[in-house]
């Protein structure tokens, strides 16, 4: 029952401490890690991506602007005749390529779409572009940049074409952009292990290869037109932990797409998360251990104070029991003493009257006299009982009085004499004559002696000897009473515990386990001490020391 209560208290302490210490900590860690840090990191990645998209878009724009400028310069610094010369055109290409490798070939196309001159790695001279779409576009727009297309060379490429009007005629200078140079320009924005960067046209057709699988001219499907049309400046989308940066390439209706894997970007941060969670776990373990230790010590303290309290209670109860017993004893003794006095006087009167009679005249004279004497004798016996009871009662009133220790020991033993006799236990007294008087509380000392004697009788059981020895220790200014028995003795390891409350060797219900604890307490309060010396199988000796307080 008590264990159950303590267990419940312990449970409450543990739960409370856990809740109050863990909830804020866990909340803090998870709030920071999973809400705040995520937000900060997302913002950071978004901003970086935005900048990246902007820069890349600028450099692509610039690339095209430069190429256009180059082509323009060529077209406007030469006339049709000069450029129609293949040899010259080749020399021109060499000059151009010496500063920039981005242009692969040059071609001159006349009014009818006929490829009149060509410099470059493909055999394209003489091909007619009259029916090609770009041919019509350039006629219409003067400068035209194509999407990536296969064309006659059956290889994906981009062309820049410029139309020059010369009198009533016109001719076209066409250059092909090296797709490797262009691709690497775009792919320069592929960061990390999972980052991607590519260009798509307005129909979501790839203009540069994607890093993961999709080739040029294939369609991508995870972004639709609606998204592209909504782009004004740079834009960053979050799609399933993937950050997508988008921008418009001004010179064409193209879109730059740069993706970053959020997980990859956050992997560093995930390490921090793991560290934080590990630290959290360590803290939780520390708290658990701490809580268990604290609760254990609290419960220990509780049990201790509870024990102390119940000892005090038991002591109090014992005292009040003894006080009640004392009153009862005094009352009974008094009520009996009066009739005893009457009986004794009656017997005395019979004797008085008998002394007037002549013995010969009364047949049973001797018997009458004998019986009267017997009555007196037994009244005397009863008187000794009532007087002892009164003496006991009187001593129950707490007091500081001068006590003859020998007399006290003697009287206390007399309470247990019949019990001892019944069990065939001999009581040997060896009391020091002229022992100094002590000032103490007789009743309490008597209770202690009674407790020890009681235990001695229990230890012996039947057939044995109890010894009482009083003495005087001048150097310590103490008197002592040693009570020895020939009982079973106390094992060494148990000897330390015998004064503990609730320590008992008696069967449950037979002893409270408080007798010696209370005795120890009493003697300590009276300024004395109790010592025990015991050998298993030989017997035990309890010695009570009490100080001699001389009255000034």
């Amino acid at each position: 029952m008590e264990i159950e209560i303590y267990g419940r208290i312990r449970g409450k302490i543990i739960t409370t401490v856990f809740l109050f210490s863990l909830i804020p900590m866990v909340f803090l860690v998870f709030f920071l890690l999973y809400v705040q840090f995520d937000k900060i990191y997302t913002d950071k990645i978004t901003n970086t991506l935005k900048t990246m998209v902007y820069n890349k878009k600028r450099s692509i724009d610039l690339f095209f602007e430069e190429r256009i400028a180059q082509i323009k310069t060529l077209a406007y610094t030469h006339n049709y005749e000069t450029l129609s010369n293949d040899k010259y055109l080749s020399e021109l290409l060499n000059v151009v390529q010496s500063t920039s490798k981005s242009i692969v070939d040059l071609g001159i196309i006349n009014q009818d779409g006929e490829h009149v001159a060509y410099a470059g790695p493909y055999k394209l001279k003489g091909v007619n572009y009259k029916n090609e779409q770009w041919f019509h576009e350039v006629l219409f727009k003067e400068i035209y940049i194509s999407d990536v297309f296969m064309g006659f060379r059956k290889f994906p490429h981009i062309i820049i074409a410029l139309m020059r009007k010369d009198g009533g005629k016109f001719w076209i200078l066409r250059a092909t952009i090296d797709s490797n140079v262009f691709n690497s320009l775009v792919q320069g924005a592929q960061v990390g292990e999972k980052g991607d960067a590519y260009l798509v046209n307005s129909d979501s057709v790839l203009q540069t290869p994607s890093r993961f699988g999709s080739q040029v001219l294939s369609k991508i499907d995870f972004l639709n037109n609606e998204v592209f049309n909504s782009i004004i400046d740079e834009k960053v989308l979050h799609l399933n932990k993937i950050f997508v940066g988008l921008s418009r390439i001004d010179i064409k209706k193209w879109h730059l797409v740069i993706t970053k894997d959020g997980n990859e970007e956050m992997s560093q941060f995930n390490d921090v998360k793991i560290d934080a969670v590990l630290i959290l776990i360590v803290f939780i373990l520390i708290i658990i251990v701490g809580t268990f230790m604290v609760s254990k010590s609290i419960i220990k303290g509780l049990i201790l104070s509870e024990k102390k309290k119940s000892m005090i209670d038991a002591n109090l109860m014992q005292s009040s029991k003894m006080a009640a017993l004392g009153k009862l004893a005094a009352g009974v003794a008094h009520e009996i003493n009066n009739p005893l006095a009457l009986i004794k006087e009656s017997a005395g009167w019979i004797k008085d009257l008998l002394s007037e009679e002549e013995q010969e005249k009364i047949k049973n004279f001797v018997e009458y006299e004998k019986m009267a004497n017997k009555i007196e004798l037994h009244v005397e016996r009863a008187r000794s009982v009532t007087h002892r009871m009164l003496g006991f009662a009187r001593r129950l009133e707490p007091a500081q009085e001068n006590v003859d220790f020998n007399m006290l020991a003697d009287q206390t033993v007399s309470f247990l004499e019949s019990e001892a006799l019944h069990r065939n236990i001999k009581i040997e007294k060896n009391l020091l004559k002229d022992i100094p008087l002590i000032t103490t509380d007789t009743a309490q000392v008597q209770q202690v002696i009674l407790n020890i004697l009681d235990n001695a009788i229990d230890a012996i059981g039947k057939n044995g000897t109890i010894g009482l020895r009083t003495g005087y220790n001048d150097s310590e200014n103490k008197i002592f009473l040693a009570i020895s028995d020939t009982g079973i003795g106390i094992p060494q390891e148990e000897a330390k515990k015998i004064f503990d409350p609730f320590y008992t060797t008696k069967r449950p219900g037979d002893g409270t386990g408080l007798g010696l604890a209370i005795s120890y307490n009493i003697i300590e309060k009276l300024g004395g001490k109790i010592e025990v010396d015991s050998t298993v199988g030989v017997g035990s000796t309890f010695t009570i020391y009490l100080p001699i307080r001389r009255i000034a």
Binding site: N338, L340, K344, V379, L390, R394
Partner: protein
């Protein structure tokens, strides 16, 4: 013991009767009453030497009676009889001027001895 006049006060009638009989048989002039008030009445009329006074009595108890006697008749010696065994009640009597006390049940010879001594003391005081 000649001319000693004793008054015994005890609420127990039977005890008074027996006690008076026994002392009369020993040629002691004795009167027995059952309360403190009656005792004081007797003392007004009779010349008493020693009073034997029970401590515990209903109404006016032994100690009250003792005080009355000692204030009115300081020369009269009083011996307290107590069934309460407690030495205190006896001692309390002594404090209020009783000559001695006996515990019930008592030995008649012991009591007679005490009576004699009390009477002697009274006579000595009277002479002085």
């Amino acid at each position: 013991m000649e001319n000693m006049k004793v008054l015994v006060v005890d609420d127990e009638g039977d005890f008074i009767e027996l006690f008076v009989k026994r002392l009369k048989k020993r040629q002691i002039d004795i009167i027995g009453v059952e309360s403190g008030y009656r005792a004081l009445d007797i003392l007004k009329k009779e010349k008493i030497d020693v009073v034997l006074l029970d401590v515990k009595m209903p109404g006016m108890d032994g100690i009250d009676t003792l005080r009355e006697i000692k204030t009115k008749y300081p020369l009269i010696e009083v011996i307290m009889i107590t069934g309460h065994g407690s030495v205190e009640s006896g001692l309390q009597g002594m404090i209020h001027g009783a000559y001695d006390y006996v515990l019930k049940p008592f030995d008649l010879e012991v009591l007679l001895n005490k009576l004699k001594k009390a009477f002697e003391r009274k006579r000595l005081k009277e002479k002085a």
